[in-house]
């Protein structure tokens, strides 16, 4: 059964997207990505180290034939900054993909949804394939789609918090009301969180800290891979309804008393 995720004509073989931040070194990053089975990885745009030209480049460790690169605008608190980073990312030569973050608050890292909406509109018009990080709010999600978002990336919980899917009902509603893929971004702490997101019908999950911050990131990457597959299959298979009382699994007929 072909259950491939396709966004704007781009095929994804994995529904697990992985961030490349916070790993011990590039080698661990590469091993975790391999174990995760992903083909879509996020990166950030930062200044080149001019004084130490011997410092290694992340892209040297990533097999570009294997991975699609999704640059983000992490750390941007204004629309102008996000646009600037997005345009630089595109010129760095990878693609038109951009994971748009316009952050509203340093402590929660919650998005500034007004800024995100504005930036989505501008970048979409410039030909970017925009993946906006947003709140778990169905109305905002719909507005972002209207503004040209290629997919919606609602948070499960604050970035790096590991709190899991805090509002599964809203995530479910988002997935029902928008006609673009929904990719849970942020807050996922362990495999069961991923499975819940996928069981809700989300199209993919993006994880960074949940893997990179684990005691054994490579093993966790593998766990997340299986969690995505399990959740996706359970969603496709159609779970039984929840009921208050029991329904016997074994037949009554044929009992000796």
């Amino acid at each position: 059964m072909d259950d491939r995720l396709t966004i704007r004509g781009i095929d994804f073989s994995s529904r697990l997207w992985v961030g490349t931040g916070k790993y011990k070194d590039f080698e661990e990053t590469a091993l975790a990505l391999e174990a995760s089975g992903t083909d879509m990885v996020t990166v950030s745009v930062r200044r080149v180290n001019i004084t130490d030209r011997k410092s290694e480049n992340l892209l040297d460790y990533l097999d570009m034939k294997k991975y699609k690169i999704l640059p983000n605008t992490a750390g941007c608190y204004t629309v102008e900054d996000a646009l600037r980073y997005a345009r630089l990312a595109r010129e760095a030569g990878v693609s038109d993909l951009i994971k748009l973050e316009v952050i509203g608050d340093e402590k929660t890292l919650f998005p500034d949804v007004c800024g995100t909406l504005k930036a989505t509109e501008i970048l979409a018009k410039e030909g970017f394939i925009v993946f906006p990080y947003t709140l778990d709010d169905p109305i905002t999600a719909q507005r972002l789609v209207d503004a040209g978002a290629a997919a919606i990336m609602p948070l499960g919980a604050p970035i790096g918090s590991g709190l899991g899917i805090r509002n599964p009902y809203n995530i479910k509603i988002i997935q029902e009301v928008v006609d673009v893929p929904v990719i849970v971004d942020a807050g996922v702490g362990t495999a069961s969180d991923v499975t819940i997101a996928m069981e809700l019908g989300c199209d993919a999950v993006l994880i960074n800290t949940g893997i990179a911050g684990a005691d054994n990131p490579i093993m966790m990457a593998s766990a997340m891979k299986h969690a995505v597959l399990a959740g996706r299959q359970a969603y496709k298979a159609g779970r039984i309804p929840r009921k208050l009382y029991a329904t016997a699994s074994s037949p009554i007929e044929g009992m000796i008393i």
Partner: protein
């Protein structure tokens, strides 16, 4: 002449973005360059002038979520 590269005042003899990258031993393939807040297209590196006092940003990809 003096220009500012990534926030640091630097002396350079390079007169174009392309020459500047060569001077800094930076491969143009994996970076993006901005001069005075304007992104420079890769195909324009060798024709885009760098002048005294310019503010140059050279960025690349690092690990991030």
């Amino acid at each position: 002449m003096k220009i500012v590269i990534n926030g640091k005042e630097t002396e350079t003899g390079a007169e174009t973005v392309g020459a500047l990258l060569e001077e800094l031993d930076i491969s143009s393939g994996k970076v993006a360059v901005e001069v005075n807040f304007k992104v420079i297209r890769k195909c324009d590196y060798h024709t885009s002038a760098v002048s005294e006092g310019d503010n140059v940003e050279i960025v690349n990809f690092v690990g991030g979520g």
